[in-house]
Amino acid sequence: MIMEIDHLKVSLGGAPILHDVNLSLGEGEIYGLLGPNGAGKSTTIAAAIGLLKRDGGQVRIMGKDPQTEAKPIHAKLGVLPEQNGFYDWMTAEDYLGFFAALYDLHPREGDLQDRLARFGLEPRPGQRIGTFSRGMRQRLGLARALIADPALLILDEPTNGLDPRGRREIHDILIDLSENHGVGVLLCTHLLDDVERLCKRIGVIVEGRTVAEGTIADLVRSNDRLVRFRLHVNGDVSKSEVPPTVTVVARDGEWCSVALSPEIDPQTAWRELLFMGWPITEIRHEGGGIEDLYLGLTEGRAA
């Protein structure tokens, strides 16, 4: 495991904030950390990376304790905090160069521009960060978090302020990092779409306690929730066969409501339906699955 948190307890100003947080993240895994506002996600991250002292429990990152061995951990750690500030008078290239130098890296000519371009920040000579949009700042923050090619990446709301294309690009980068470079990613977000697309395992924190941890499929299954979709079909399917993985809940003209068990990959189900002659033209996610699970676990708490 690249990151392990066992029974973490943290107090701030004498008030207990985290009571019992557990989390384990492997190499090449993208792990979703969920919870309502004020549940303790950011405090968990701060304690995990050694910025806050813990009252109890254990934290190991790459086998080391961040409270006593911060320097080697920070050398292989990339973090994008939720409140991520910049030196507005610098250019993006100066900014990345400054952080590269703090990591004792000496990028070659053009390396920094290549990194910026990878995050959709094309070279703009002389343009200061102070003139950047929120989305551009978010991309620059991600580029900075990845400056030292970290083994562990901790991202707090990384797609905040990004348009759908930008979100998709960031998703693709994270998937590439985890699948092809073995980077472990701890993703802290409210966007369940991001979690469903990127994460296999999640942890849910409520009032400073981990109330659920495991694979999305297992958690949703144990929560006994079906994943619901609405399908638009171009023609009559009342006589068409239905594969056993799909349950037709209702029909309303050209729209059909269907439910899938959480362990079923929707793409497989759609292929089977198409194979059986369903002329599907549109698919809409209707809820169920992780959304119902999250709402159930955090019921009565501020979202």
Binding site: L52, K71, H74, L77, V79, F86, L102, D104
Partner: protein, 250 residues
């Protein structure tokens, strides 16, 4: 370049390249211009002699330097924390001591810039007399620990308090109390309370040394007690900043 050097250079950039920093330097230059004109006007009218205006300018430069140090010191820790830039620095492999030293270096650069801005004003008010060089050297030697001490105090407060505003206020209050000898008359300063205050106040230490060197023409080497007060102040505030910074968590 070391992490300390990189951070000191960044701090200098914060002062010299950001609108906020340039605004403060411009304000200092305007205030010095106003005082310079007043002092030159007084000299022309023979209300003050040359030694007195150089002494006054030394006090003003030290007070303005300390004010700039409080602002820059507050911004270096509390301001960076509020803007969300400090955490990114804390999460690099650079040690806390390196980051702190870099920020202390930034304070020194800010004072050096302020001093450089003040030199033409020294010349403007004191070029016709014999005390100009003594005045400038006194401010460099005794003003430096006083000014840097206020910067370190502001950094220590910024590390301990929640916001830049709440840490700026106590820093300014300490500065006003310390700089009050500039406003006190000679009789008050000769009272028991005035003498006790002078003995521990770094600002008084610097001003008394300026008085002895510029007005009484004593040698700078003879100002050991005044040096002692200002350097004890510098050491205490450095300890205060280091202790506070070691506890900064975000």
């Amino acid at each position: 370049m070391t992490a300390t050097g990189l951070i000191a250079r960044k701090e200098a950039g914060d002062l010299l390249l950001s609108l906020r920093g340039l605004g403060w330097l411009l304000t200092m230059a305007v205030v010095l211009s106003v005082f310079g004109l007043l002092l030159v006007g007084n000299t022309e009218l023979s209300l003050l002699d040359n030694a007195q205006v150089v002494y006054d300018m030394g006090g003003i430069v030290t007070a303005l330097g300390a004010l700039l140090a409080v602002v820059v010191g507050t911004d270096a820790v509390a301001g960076e924390r509020e803007r969300g830039t400090l955490v990114s620095l804390l999460l690099t492999p650079a040690s806390r001591n390196s980051i702190l030293l870099g920020k202390l270096g930034g304070q020194a650069i800010a004072w050096a810039v302020m001093y450089a801005i003040a030199l033409p004003y020294f010349w403007a008010v004191g070029s016709t007399g014999q005390n100009l060089v003594d005045g400038a050297v006194s401010v460099a030697l005794l003003g430096t620990p006083v000014v840097l001490g206020f910067g370190f105090l502001a950094m220590g407060l910024g590390a301990r308090l929640d916001s830049a505003r709440s840490s700026l206020l106590p820093g300014l209050i300490v500065l006003l109390l310390s700089a009050s000898p500039l406003l006190l008359g000679p009789s008050l300063r000769q009272s028991a309370i005035g003498r006790a205050f002078d003995a521990v106040n770094p600002f008084s230490g610097a001003l008394n040394a300026y008085d002895a060197v510029i007005i009484d023409s004593q040698s700078i080497a003879a100002q050991v007690p005044h040096f002692a007060v200002t350097f004890v102040w510098l050491a205490l505030t450095l300890w205060f900043a280091a202790r506070g910074f070691s506890r900064v968590s975000r």
